[in-house]
């Protein structure tokens, strides 16, 4: 018989500490949907997504009911549309975004990711068309998410793409200015993008993946924080790391159970469990509060990077034994607007974009959900992207930038996206410009560590 203490611990995690499975994401390959005629191709995309994912939401809900575990989102990721659009003669590729949006609405999934282009070394015609259409695509659709990979440790940084993405991020915000610039919240610029990430907005289904796959993203910052709050007082750093590891193990085991069950019921191979600590705006479900529980007065003060490094590493170590395949981003996310603790630290002035950039060197992703003043120049956005991508490239890790220029607003104001995306205070950026550097274009060479063979 199971011990009562263990049973009550699990129930308490779900009831009071926001433990949940954040997402079941079905990855679907669209490589067989290509056609010269864009209407035919986008029609095939719609049909295939609807056919493969027809039972996704229901299966998720069934598992939720049967096991009593909240499964917050059911989502879909697809092959980067930059590849699918390659043979199309028409360059009006927004049609693909509309098909994906329609399929998502029809199936009841809240996000569909993969309006993406992988251009770390250079552009193909399809990639160009997709990137160029991102502002419109994210303005006319509701559930489509977009990402662009502009660099990797192996390829270096495509500085032409970096330059282009500064403009695209700004235009995307401008086109959705009447809706709190929500478009930019669905656009991620990556370096070293993982091909099996189940989390939005950066999810896409890589070309090396099988035709269809189930990836699961677990969560649980609230559980880690509660464990530290309960037993962490007076403990050394080693013991804190052990507590995080043990908690991450338990959380990931639950994710693995759900992933296996979903894969069995949908007759789709199981891909990976992504064991990320993903915060939500709910009070208590915050990564910043975990760092504060470790002994920081406020997230963002000196010591934050070290505490985050400990957390990110311990989460991986605890989770990796709990699942047969760990992948995606796996670590701790630090999206400012989605994390109650980060929002409050930013409002107090304890957390700024410079400190966040340092933190991204040791967290699992990058500058995430950061609202910047609306008058920021496209070149400055590009420069922020370049800085962040350089950190990823040199450290052989994924980094990403999801900035939201708050059109018509300045530092001190707020943007309110609602739901999981939360509320973001407009954060000031550093002075000076890098216009000449960004406008040079070209490719930033891959670092020496790319030559591992």
């Amino acid at each position: 018989m199971l011990e009562t203490k263990d049973i009550l611990e699990t129930i308490n995690m779900i009831d009071n500490e926001n433990l949940d499975v954040r997402t079941i994401t079905m990855g679907i390959s669209l490589l067989d949907c290509m056609d010269e005629n864009i209407d035919k191709a986008s029609g095939r995309v719609y049909d295939k997504v609807c056919r493969y994912a027809q039972d996704l939401v229901k299966t998720g809900e069934d598992i939720e009911k049967e096991y009593g575990i909240p499964i917050i989102n059911k989502r879909i990721s697809v092959t980067p549309i930059g590849m699918v659009a390659a043979p199309c003669q028409s360059k009006n590729v927004v049609k693909f975004a509309k098909s994906l949006d329609k399929a998502a609405k029809n199936l009841g999934v809240n996000f569909i990711g993969g309006y993406s282009a992988l251009v770390q070394k250079g552009f193909s015609a399809g990639d160009y068309a997709v990137i160029d259409s991102i502002p419109e695509a994210l303005a006319v659709t509701e559930r489509v998410c977009s990402s662009v990979n502009i660099g990797s440790t192996k390829a270096g940084l495509n500085m032409d793409a970096v330059k282009m993405m500064g403009k695209i991020v700004k235009q995307t915000a401008e086109k959705t200015a009447d809706r709190d610039c929500i478009g930019a919240a669905k656009l991620v610029v990556f370096c070293n993008a993982p091909e099996d990430n189940p989390f939005m907005a950066g999810a896409f289904h890589g070309a090396g993946e099988s035709d269809c796959v189930i990836n699961v993203g677990v969560s649980g910052p609230g559980v880690v924080r509660a464990a530290l709050a309960k037993d962490g007082a007076g403990k050394s750093i080693d013991e804190i790391a052990d507590m995080v590891k043990k908690t991450a193990f338990k959380i990931t085991r639950m994710g693995q159970l759900v992933a296996k069950e979903a894969s069995k019921r949908l007759c789709v191979p199981f891909g990976i469990v992504d064991l990320s600590l993903a915060p939500t705006p709910a009070v208590g479900d915050s990564v910043a509060y975990i760092l504060e529980e470790m002994g920081l007065e406020s997230c963002g003060c000196h010591g934050t990077t070290a505490a985050l490094a400990l957390l990110n590493d311990a989460v991986k170590k605890g989770g990796v034994m709990a699942s047969s395949h760990v992948g995606g981003l796996s670590g701790a996310f630090i999206p400012v607007s989605e994390d109650a603790g980060m929002i409050s630290a930013a409002k107090k002035g304890a957390l700024d974009i410079t400190k966040l950039e340092c933190m991204t060197a040791v967290c699992s992703v990058g500058l995430d959900m950061i609202v910047v003043p609306g008058d920021i120049s496209a070149e400055t956005i590009s420069a922020i992207i370049a800085d962040e991508a350089a950190i990823g490239m040199v450290n052989s890790k994924t980094t990403a930038v999801r900035l939201i220029p708050a059109i018509g607003k300045k530092a001190g104001d707020d943007l309110n996206f609602g739901g999981l995306l939360g509320t973001g205070p407009v954060m000031p950026i550093r002075k000076g410009n890098a216009d000449v550097f960004i406008n040079r274009g070209g490719r930033l060479p891959a670092p020496l560590q790319s030559l591992k063979n």
Partner: protein, 89 residues
């Protein structure tokens, strides 16, 4: 399939009886029960067996949640696998 029922709340007369009666009505067999009363807090865990074709877990949960309301206790019904996967290697 096995499920775990937990009941937590202020101790009073008839909690165990009401929960067991609801299980019996639903044709659910109780395999094991552990119960403890600390001061006046009542905590009980039950392992039950639900045969295929009998009641769905979800329906059993609804019934027991009603019992929870009547007895002012918090009742959870969950699949055994969750606890096994979380607490056993």
């Amino acid at each position: 399939m096995k499920a775990i029922i937990t009941v937590v709340g202020k101790d009073k007369v008839g909690i165990l009886a009401k929960v067991s009666a609801a299980c019996a009505n639903a044709d659910v067999n109780i395999i094991e029960v552990t119960q403890s009363v600390l001061q006046d807090m009542f905590a009980m865990t039950m392992m039950v067996e639900i045969k295929k074709g009998d009641i769905e877990l979800d329906a059993l949960r609804e019934k027991l949640e009603k019992v929870g309301e009547e007895t002012s206790t918090k009742i959870h019904v969950m699949h055994e696998d969750i606890f096994n996967s979380m607490h056993r290697i």
